[in-house]
Symmetry: C3
Subunit: 669 residues, 3 copies
């Protein structure tokens, strides 16, 4: 590890049965030589709490410790994270082992921080205790059942309740209102659990030690923004397909929710992690080679992809890159989750590539101190809308059934369009936007894209209008403004409180079973997918129309000056080319726009004090070239296949920018 320039490792998090082989009997010494050895080699350590893998002796104490995936359906033991995290017996023993470990090692000089639990929120809990808690939570929000009956519209289908205990279980639920609240409650349970662990650990932690957890962002029971408010730093576990899925120009389908496919999606993972706290973040796990608990999928990185992926994450705000895992294990479910070392334990190609990246990061370290990634446009993210759309999605899948991925399909369309347009993005949670001063936000982000915001109260929609009034360009996608804070359809003409500022309304809409042509006078044409609003321009300019289909000749995109700014309404889901055109039109100047480069090259940047750092990447197996801005006089950057170079830009009073390459890369080998 030391030879590979490792500076930090993560230990201790999945071995509760080793820490505590018998109830209350703690075996803590085994870690001592690991910590000492790390410290001796200048390697820092993140110490994990082991709570996500309960020992068999605890499982055996009470069958109700098993979390229920559905009412009465217990998660079988044999894996991990099967427990009901609200069970008092679990909490009691978890607290014991956390305190024992923290008390023992908090003062060890190698320890720089703590990871409590691991990828929390893997499934929604349906245990009786949890459901009872939900009823209490509802009572806290609604006070009496009559209010609930009214707010949820329970007259329909005779579902009015007389007392809280008459509420049906979530398994049979079909009310979008119930479903949304159930998801909010589940996310709060997980946030509370992590906060509870953080409080315990902090009783022992030194002032320079941080507390975090590692987030798998597509877990169903989390609200990452709320979650990281309990922590000192965001940490995430981005996984992604490698090989051709990281080759620009090739489309590889994403086959699991917990990994992504595509270079743009790797960047999105970075930006999502940044969004949790609007701050840099740690990468606690990422691809070394094969990922997944499987023998059948090995997208071993092509030579060079390790550095490309690692530096892309750094460019989007990562302060640390940890690989899962050091050595590929010889038994158990993760036998084929490939580590830095292979099964033979002998350093191979992957080790060498990671070591090379380690050396580069060590050398780049000083310049990346205080680094913040650039962003040309803000995209609004809504956890509530995502959770609502998972069960009541507006888009159909290929077979005409509900596309439970609708939220990401819409959001990712705009995110990727921004990427294809050469702009850099900042993802902003709806609540974060609302907390910001409008003028400041406009100054930082002249364009705000709202891909879709179905769940929003009046105040949220009014805040969007104020953003335009204050000079911003608000770009709004389908379903935005249609629902309220309980995912009820608003009784006014759509898009509700945005209609006046947007200068457009609709009362009718249609699914699009096949793409429909769009003529866009302003930014060229393309196709609409999935959904079409029957827009009526009422003060707005029509900037694109349907060229065929049910709404042929009617507006597809409108735009209207509002206050000092503008509201653009996109009344369908544009295909990627059209969305890219819209984003190019709406986001005039991009941070990398002075560079000349074409796909498969990407140019990514950020600021670090007075310096700007540039990451020039070639996501292909052919050599490629990028040209710095003319004014800099910089030479063309020649990139080998699957190559990435980092330049530090310093302002020279005479010649403008000066690009300083990485030390050992002056002469490309």
């Amino acid at each position: 590890m030391a030879e590979a320039s490792f500076s930090v490792i993560r230990v201790g998090e999945s071995v509760w049965a080793t820490w505590e082989p018998e109830p209350g009997v703690y075996h803590l010494d085994w870690l001592q030589p690991v910590l000492d050895g790390a410290h001796a080699r200048g390697i820092s350590v993140v110490l994990g709490t082991p709570t996500y893998a309960v020992p068999p002796w605890l499982r055996a104490m009470d069958p109700e410790l098993a979390g229920e995936e559905a009412t009465g359906v217990r998660h079988p033991w044999g894996r991990r994270q099967e427990v009901d995290i609200t069970h008092p017996l679990f909490r009691q023993h978890a607290e014991g082992v956390i305190r024992a470990i923290a008390a023992k090692y908090a003062s060890h000089p190698a320890i720089i921080g703590y990871q409590v639990d691991n990828e929390p929120g893997p499934f929604l809990l349906h245990n009786q205790r949890v459901f009872d808690g939900f009823l209490g939570w509802l009572e806290g929000r609604y006070e009496d059942v009559e209010t609930l009956n009214r707010e949820w519209g329970l007259t329909f289908w005779s579902q009015r309740i007389r007392s809280w205990d008459e509420l049906w279980r979530p398994d049979g639920n079909h009310s979008p209102q119930y479903q949304l609240e159930w998801r909010r409650y589940q996310a709060e349970l997980v946030t509370e659990f992590i906060a509870w662990q953080a409080r315990i650990v902090r009783e022992y932690a030194g002032p320079r030690q941080f507390v975090t957890t590692c987030i798998s962002y597509e877990r169903p029971a989390i609200d990452d923004r709320q979650l990281v408010q309990q922590l000192d730093v965001t940490a995430g576990n981005p996984y992604y397909m490698m090989q051709d899925a990281l080759r620009i120009g090739v489309e590889v389908p994403r086959t699991a929710k917990w990994w992504s496919s595509g270079v743009w999606a790797l960047f999105e993972q970075g930006d999502r992690m940044f969004s949790s706290a609007q701050a840099p973040f740690l990468v606690t796990e990422t691809n070394a080679q094969s990922i997944g608990q499987s023998h059948w999928q090995h997208h071993t990185p092509y030579p060079g992809q390790i550095a490309l992926a690692g530096l892309a994450l750094v460019a989007r705000g990562a302060r640390m890159i940890e690989y899962w895992q050091w050595q590929t294990p010889h038994y158990g479910i993760e036998t084929y989750w490939g580590g830095v070392l292979p099964h033979s334990g002998q350093p191979g190609r992957i080790y060498r590539e990671i070591a090379e990246l380690g050396r580069r990061l060590r050398d780049l370290g000083p310049v990346l101190e205080g680094f913040t990634p650039d962003a040309d446009v803000a995209l609004l993210y809504s956890i509530d809308t995502k959770h609502s759309f998972e069960f009541y999605p507006p888009l159909a899948d290929a077979e005409g059934g509900p596309d439970g991925m609708s939220y990401l399909r819409i959001f990712d369309r705009y995110y990727r369009a921004a990427f294809e347009a050469g702009t850099q993005s900042r993802i902003v949670h709806a609540a974060q936007f609302r907390e910001r001063d409008t003028e400041d936000f406009v100054a930082e982000f002249p364009t705000l894209v709202v891909p879709t915001l179905y769940v929003a109260d009046d105040g949220m929609l009014d805040a969007l209008v104020r953003y335009a009034e204050a000079g911003g360009h608000l770009v709004v996608g389908i379903r935005t403004g249609y629902g309220d804070q309980l995912a009820r359809a608003r009784p006014e003409r759509a898009p509700g409180r945005l209609a006046a500022a947007a200068g457009v309304w609709y009362d009718e809409y249609s699914s699009l079973d096949a793409p429909v042509g769009i003529d866009g006078a302003t930014f060229g044409g393309g196709h609409a997918e999935g959904w079409a609003d029957a827009l009526v321009a009422d003060g707005a300019d029509v900037v694109a129309v349907y060229s065929s289909g049910i709404y042929a000749g009617r507006p597809a995109v409108t735009s209207r000056e509002h206050g000092a700014g503008r509201v653009t309404y996109v009344g369908m889901l544009p295909d990627l080319a059209l969305a890219t055109s819209i984003l190019r039109w709406a986001v005039p100047i991009a941070s990398a726009s002075e560079w000349q480069f074409d796909a498969p090259v990407t140019v990514t940047s950020g600021s670090s004090g007075d310096e700007r750092v540039w990451f020039i990447s070639n996501w292909s197996s052919e050599p490629a070239t990028a040209h710095p801005p003319q004014r800099s006089g910089g030479k063309p950057i020649v990139l080998e296949p699957w190559d990435v170079t980092v330049l530090v830009e310093q302002r020279d009073p005479e010649s403008g920018a000066v690009y300083i390459p990485e030390p050992e890369r002056v002469e490309p080998s």
Copy 2:
């Protein structure tokens, strides 16, 4: 509503918890102003019983009230129609609320009838009580277990029982005999439940008030013919995909059992509703715009499709068209089931189209009094065969698995072929055919098509032979005559008791994994799909042969004169073109055959006293023309895109027919 010429509404059927907020406490007054307001505007009211949506307080009384989808698997609460309709506690409270409502409002002058329950029979009930009832029902039919052992062939695989309680539950059943009886029993449960409600309501109803229920025809637990015998009039809820699925010339796959796709299938829904009682019917629900409990499918009708669909149903015997629902709701599962009014509550395009249709129907009303749709051919429908084929189908799906839709795949092939051939159809339940006088039936229907009749006792098959003897042309499809009344394979050579009259037999058959060519000397060729009998002509003429495949050169279709008529045996599933050719050949004169028109125009007719009414429809986005019979001297009918016109034909002693157009359509706008 009044401005839109609404003449009838349906109220009260899904709000039991509003009618009876506490057990035995009835709040009945809220409906009074609705009924008074309707009456004041000349709008009649169908009053519903609310039994399909049990209130939470009732659910809470006994967990066994929940119907079991499988043994021990309770239908979760949270929707509706989850109850075990045989549970005494449910019956007790249902009776209470029915009586309270009926007693309160039966005398209101707005009430013209009652709808008891709603779309009954959504799933098969597996509760212990229901299973015990099945055992008793079997005992009533078989008297002793030895008879059951013999009739079901239970020696096989050691399933002979010694007492009724040794019978296995339906969940694990694999006996086709058990399965068929189980389905019959389930249908009888539902029929009994509706009859029970009808009896209660009739204690209060006035002599001019009708009682009905609304039928969703693909519900698994109903036999519509038996069900409507308990009622005064048939009522059904036809739903269908709109947009291109109602464009002739385009094929849109059907994606759910409870809606149809295709103009022919819309007509078939009308004819199925007519078939229940061989009488006109009410449409209690149909498409206003989006249908389904979904956010992801909106096949908002193209302009004009509202009238096309509505008048097509009228042309096939509908006496009433009610739309579900008046206003799109803002919360709950049906938030996107689009009503006449959109979420904004402001009349829009759909309202205007429905209002226009309302005006037309109001004006056409007098001439449609006593209207009966024409029919050129009868098609025999077998609920027993359908239910048997749902579990033991003769056709494979695309992956080679059982095609549980086999019955409709075969039946629809012939129904649609008749439609494509320009003939109009009457669907006749097997039992209805059998009750008819043979001579009368031959006189009314010179051709009887039996697409498939697997479940039939000797008497039924003999009745088919008598139909041919009496002069009818009997056209028989695959699997007909193969099984008996318990879906047992008959021990004689197929097609069993039809073989002699048909002059053909077979002992062997083969699935067809891919279409096989047919040479049809008499009516042209085509292809066979799915199934092929190895026919041996034994007195019949061979009118088509296989041109390739396992039975190349052997008979595919035979025909033989029998008595005063003819029996044609079709030994494979013909593709649509071939089936259409066969139907053209077998049904010589069609009611609309004197008209000249081509797809996408349809010409549909019916008689109303001395008058014949013609519906000329253009199911496309291009203008189209239809030419009335030469002898009438009528002018060509020019149809706008998505246009339908109605003509009343009166016999003029001199010039023959005279066609009188709808009042406001003399000059096409």
Copy 3:
């Protein structure tokens, strides 16, 4: 039957409720006339025990008699083989009925043997009793939990147990080690059950009566090699798709695990049955016409296919061909499992073809006495690897998920390649190979192909190396040598203990999402599929390299002389053409190589005393010709469509071989 030359029937095996209508009351006489009648006609009888279909009265005694498919999920009654075969109550009653039947009929002169139970091992049992037995079985193997914790690596994810009862149930298991042992235990349960029955029957059986069971080879809970060690002869139930699936040159997908598709796969079924005991076998069931418990799939054989299939099985070692079933039943789940006689009971085409085959087999009988099929190459079969790969497969399916059929996909690739190469194969279980004397084995099989052997202890791998040392050509496929006896990844460089002898190693590998080109200097090129090792030649010759993809230019196949023999390592899954080339190269002389013929003809052979018997088959609808070796002077063999002829070769001292055709086939009709 007698007219059709039937010489043996199977009776009595599925009618326990008939044998024992009440507990302890045996009705045994009904079979007497059947046995007497058979005997009078010279037909022998295999008598079955009826234990696989428990009577309803037994089911009713204890609900726990039902086998659990998953913990707490009882197999529903209504079919057969639902019972927990370890339940004492079942054993008690089973013993009773077995003894009653055997005592009654063992001395009947028609009885030649017994079939105990039927196709055992249909699912894995999860009952508490079975799981408790597993814990005891583990204790027997591991002695203490610390050993288990260490051997299974249970530190990972905190799964260390303190006592046996802390082990989790198999339902939630994700440990490959646990899974493999669970499968071994389940197979032992079934072996013990069959052995128990065999012991009881042998108390009654005469010395010339055999005991067997019939095996369905893809059942999950069997190890056929262990199973037949309890029996006197192997018996199997090969089923296969007919029609075009038995036409060489057409690929028909296999749609169920219990039947095969393809002529090569029919041969493989024969060779698998031979492999169980390395001896000839009985075919207790095979296709008469339609197979399966379905109405929707009828691949009725083309004329001639009955003889082709039957003689192919005889050519691979079948001593008996029994058809399932004599007459197609009229009721029950197998109503469309087509028998020798159709539903009408009247002999038809199938009867005639089977009768003709019966006559041929009767006439060939004497020459087939002592017949053993030829084999040019041995293929190693590993039940352990197959069972392990069913849950942790190395190959992905088309959607990127685990391909649970990976083992057969790899094994069948090589088996079929040998078939396409014109060689005949002997399948050898890993344990059978290990028991053999190495020198003897090399003498019998100069080439040993190991398609994949993931689960193997050190001794097994060393035995493979010794095979090469002793002069054999060892051909090794992917994953071989990677795991140990508990499916743990070995800690040495792959292919582990084979690496030195093979002169090649790898530490890295990649899935192949799409085929990758292979340049094979030695035997031509082709494509790799699914998997690629990153081979490093270390003493071996590189005989093929990747022409593109992640490992372009690197070795794909290597070969190295070792001792008196050679080890060839195939580091990817070759496509069929490439695998065929490799096999042609590796297996120099084939038994049929002196014949000249092309697909669709196959030439199959075996020895019977001094005679060699040749089966010349035409698997197509066109006539075909095969030419015997030049030295024999034999005339060309002309084959009608779907025709097979059998020749007996006798050595003539002067002219070499003389081929004697079947008696009635001297002049082809």
